[in-house]
């Protein structure tokens, strides 16, 4: 059997640098704020992505509001979700918080796909792409300043629309990285990290732990919301059933691969994760592996990565081994 390894490499690179990798980097940066720095075991990150995407989509596609306003509304929806979710759950232990947040994300998905909500959300079919330039993503592509054509190095080529998407997505990732870096070196970041270590100690020193956790939840949630917006912008359409719990699990894998509580860990993690996943896909396809089982094999593989990472290198690529070994 002939396997074209350049093809495998090119496929991997195209996806590793593509907009989807940027989406997961954003979602994982949000999780890094929650879990890596604050110790909040949020397993409902996909819920933030959902409300971000839908907030924007409903505003722009259904109510014909301008794109910029839609994006702001999408982010505000994520803020609202963080507040709504935070009040009952932020006082809970880590494991209860995990269960509650995953439940909340599933509640959102069920509600958004239900037919009584179809008027507002488009129901199970979601918000389709609209031809004729009235959909939310056409507004985005109209802003594309890049002249038509294909760009890239060697075999790794991108069309001008894809390049525009990538440019914006990775720019947002860069902004998020700088924001997290600036926050985490400050006294605010110190309080956040102390809450991860022991919230009672932080409380005894006069820190309003609940308020800080809420700020962290909002910040990471908005990053998740932006990730959701970029995700559907890239697709041009959205359905509730694309926001499954495994999106959150993917984002965790990305975060843990790169290294939790490191500033660029999620970015590196996402690029690597998608590179590996796509390269494997490409390899399996070329070896004639049945496409029906491919999706399942890929998910099983993610599960395996997650297990091995947590068991053998919980600090990820960039984390500090010594820190991980310390017991509380």
């Amino acid at each position: 059997m002939d396997v074209d390894f350049t093809r495998v490499l090119v496929d991997g690179l195209r996806t590793g640098l593509g907009p989807v990798a940027a989406v997961y980097a954003l979602a994982a940066i949000g999780l890094n704020v929650h879990y890596g720095y604050t110790g909040l075991l949020n397993f409902g990150q996909v819920g933030f992505m959902l409300v971000g995407a839908y907030g924007m989509g409903i505003a722009v596609s259904i109510h014909s509001l301008p794109l910029w306003l839609g994006i702001i509304l999408g982010m505000l929806a994520a803020v609202a979700l963080a507040l709504l979710l935070g009040f009952p759950t932020l006082r809970l232990r880590a494991d209860y918080l995990a269960i509650c947040t995953i439940a909340a994300a599933e509640i959102l998905r069920f509600v958004f796909r239900s037919s009584p909500m179809a008027e507002v959300t488009g129901g199970a079919f979601g918000i389709p792409s609209q031809v004729g330039g009235s959909g939310f993503s056409s507004g985005f592509y109209r802003l594309n300043p890049i002249p038509e054509g294909a760009y890239g190095i060697g075999p790794v080529m991108f069309s001008h629309t894809r390049l525009w998407m990538m440019l914006v997505a990775w720019l947002l990732v860069a902004l998020a990285v700088v924001l997290v870096w600036a926050l985490m070196r400050s006294p605010w970041g110190r309080v956040i990290k102390s809450i991860r270590e022991d919230e009672d100690a932080a409380r005894a020193l006069g820190k309003n732990v609940f308020a800080y956790k809420m700020q962290s939840l909002v910040l990471g949630g908005v990053l998740g919301g932006v990730a959701g917006i970029v995700l559907v912008m890239n697709q041009g359409a959205m359905t509730p059933d694309q926001f499954l719990p495994q999106l959150t699990f993917f984002a965790y894998t990305v975060l843990l691969l790169g290294g939790a509580a490191t500033v660029v860990g999620p970015v590196l993690g996402s690029i690597l994760f998608w590179f590996i996943l796509q390269a494997m896909d490409s390899l399996l396809r070329q070896t004639g592996f049945g496409s029906a089982a491919l999706g399942a094999v890929r998910l099983a593989f993610v599960g395996l990565i997650l297990i091995l990472l947590m068991a053998f290198r919980p600090q990820g690529l960039l984390g500090n081994k010594q820190e991980m070994m310390l017991d509380a």
Partner: protein, 439 residues
């Protein structure tokens, strides 16, 4: 009991079965499943016969079939016998809509939420769908449907309870929140499926009872193997609880998708499964199948409770769950107790999976869909207590099914999960759990 009533009940049950199947099919679509997932072979249809509450055929009712993207693939109207059939371009997911406007005077859909129906059609399948009709609201109709929903809620709750005991005991003894517990449920159901399937399709053709027994034993073995092969070594290396939680998520992804490769992405009923006439006890109607499921579940639950209460090993389990250090220092072999809990928990999960497969359908995703409800039940009862888990799970089952009396069936899990969050708002340690110490 009039024939009419019986027909209504049958229709209701059939609709419930179809609706759950449809829900399962929709939820089980893999995330990146494109049209290329299933090879088109042709010959697929959806069809059915429309009869009113009295069993009379209803002609000239418009029915249309569309893809999930809204593209209409076929339209038809029922003939003089009430029969209809629409040919499909390929296997896959479809949405079947009955045009309620075209129903004759005095005939309505029993449940307007069950129109349109979402279905998955397998290759070369002629899928039969039932739209339940009847006349507008009758006198004691609410009571009847209340009882019907209460029974199916109880049935569902009992199944959740069986699967949740292991989850709860494992948490109580090791502190592990096991996100991979649902996969043991699916494993049991799928093993039973293959032992039950006739030899012609690669199975062993055993009766479902025997197949279920084997599945329970093998799931118990799987539980023990996971404990010995994964969790015990991790505990020895003093892996943190949060780390283990994440590992359990990885394990869940791995197992679930391995099951998908093995079983396929669709959902199928057991081969022994047949639609049955329901038995009537006063105002309550129940099929023998459901009766058996509920009786088995109750017997097993009582058995587990007795075991925990009376036997040495049961007492040891509760002791370890109560206070691990104390149990250890009083000479209990904690590692052995944990292993036994995994074996029992795995067996119960697999058994619950078989029951769930009998009631609904078998699919690789069934465990994951049950998982959040198990968590809800376990937390409702207070994490780590077996009785709490039983109590909480039954409450969750009842909430789920009874909610459909007032709200859309599509939202039935929402209420159970909502209650979970509400309970934690009021009592962060669950209803029967204890508060933690500070300082």
């Amino acid at each position: 009991m009039s024939a009419r009533m019986r027909a209504v009940v049958l229709a209701l049950l059939a609709v419930a079965a179809v609706a759950t199947t449809a829900g399962a099919a929709i939820a089980s679509t893999p995330p990146d499943a494109g049209g290329d997932l299933v090879l088109a072979q042709g010959g697929e249809t959806v069809r059915g016969v429309l009869r009113d509450g009295e069993g009379e055929p209803v002609p000239d009712v418009a029915i249309s079939v569309a893809t999930p993207d809204g593209e209409v693939v076929g339209e038809t109207a029922t003939d003089a016998d009430g029969a209809w059939e629409v040919g499909l371009p390929a296997p896959g997911d479809y949405v079947v809509t009955l045009d309620a406007e075209t129903l004759p005077e005095g005939v309505d859909l029993r449940d307007a939420d069950r129109n349109p129906l979402e279905v998955t059609v397998r290759s070369a399948q002629n899928r039969t769908l039932i739209f339940a009709l009847g006349e507008g609201a009758g006198g004691s109709r609410f009571l009847n449907s209340f009882l019907a929903q209460a029974v199916s809620g109880l049935r569902f709750g009992l199944i959740i309870a069986i699967t949740a005991i292991g989850l709860s005991l494992i948490f109580g003894t090791t502190g592990l929140v096991n996100f991979a517990h649902g996969e043991l449920v699916a494993l049991g159901a799928i093993i039973a499926f293959f032992f039950n399937a006739p030899a012609s399709v690669g199975g062993f053709g055993l009766t479902l009872i025997l197949a279920g027994l084997i599945a329970t034993v093998l799931s118990a073995a799987a539980g023990g193997a996971i404990e010995l092969g994964l969790w015990r070594p991790l505990r020895k290396r003093r892996t943190g609880l949060i780390q283990m939680l994440v590992i359990s998520i990885g394990l869940a992804l791995l197992l679930r998708n391995a099951l998908q490769v093995w079983f396929g992405g669709g959902s199928r009923p057991y081969y022994d499964y047949t639609i049955q006439q329901s038995l009537v006890f006063g105002p309550i109607r129940i099929t023998p199948r459901d009766l058996i499921v509920m009786a088995l579940a109750t017997i097993v639950l009582v058995g587990v409770a007795t075991m925990l209460q009376r036997t040495r090993i049961g007492k040891a389990m509760r002791a370890v769950s109560d206070n691990r250090d104390l149990a250890e220092s009083s000479g209990i072999d904690v590692q052995r107790v944990i292993l036994i809990i995994w074996v029992i928990g795995g067996g119960l999960a697999g058994f619950g999976g078989v029951l769930a497969g009998v009631v609904e359908n078998v699919s690789y995703l069934m465990g994951f869909r049950l998982l959040l409800l198990m968590f809800a039940g376990v937390i409702l009862g207070g994490l780590g207590t077996a009785y709490g888990a039983m109590f909480g799970s039954i409450v969750v089952g009842l909430i789920t099914e009874l909610s459909t009396l007032w709200f859309s069936t599509e939202l039935k899990y929402v209420w159970a999960l909502g209650v979970l969050i509400l309970i934690l708002l009021v009592r962060p340690q669950g209803l029967l759990g204890r508060a933690e110490r500070i300082g």
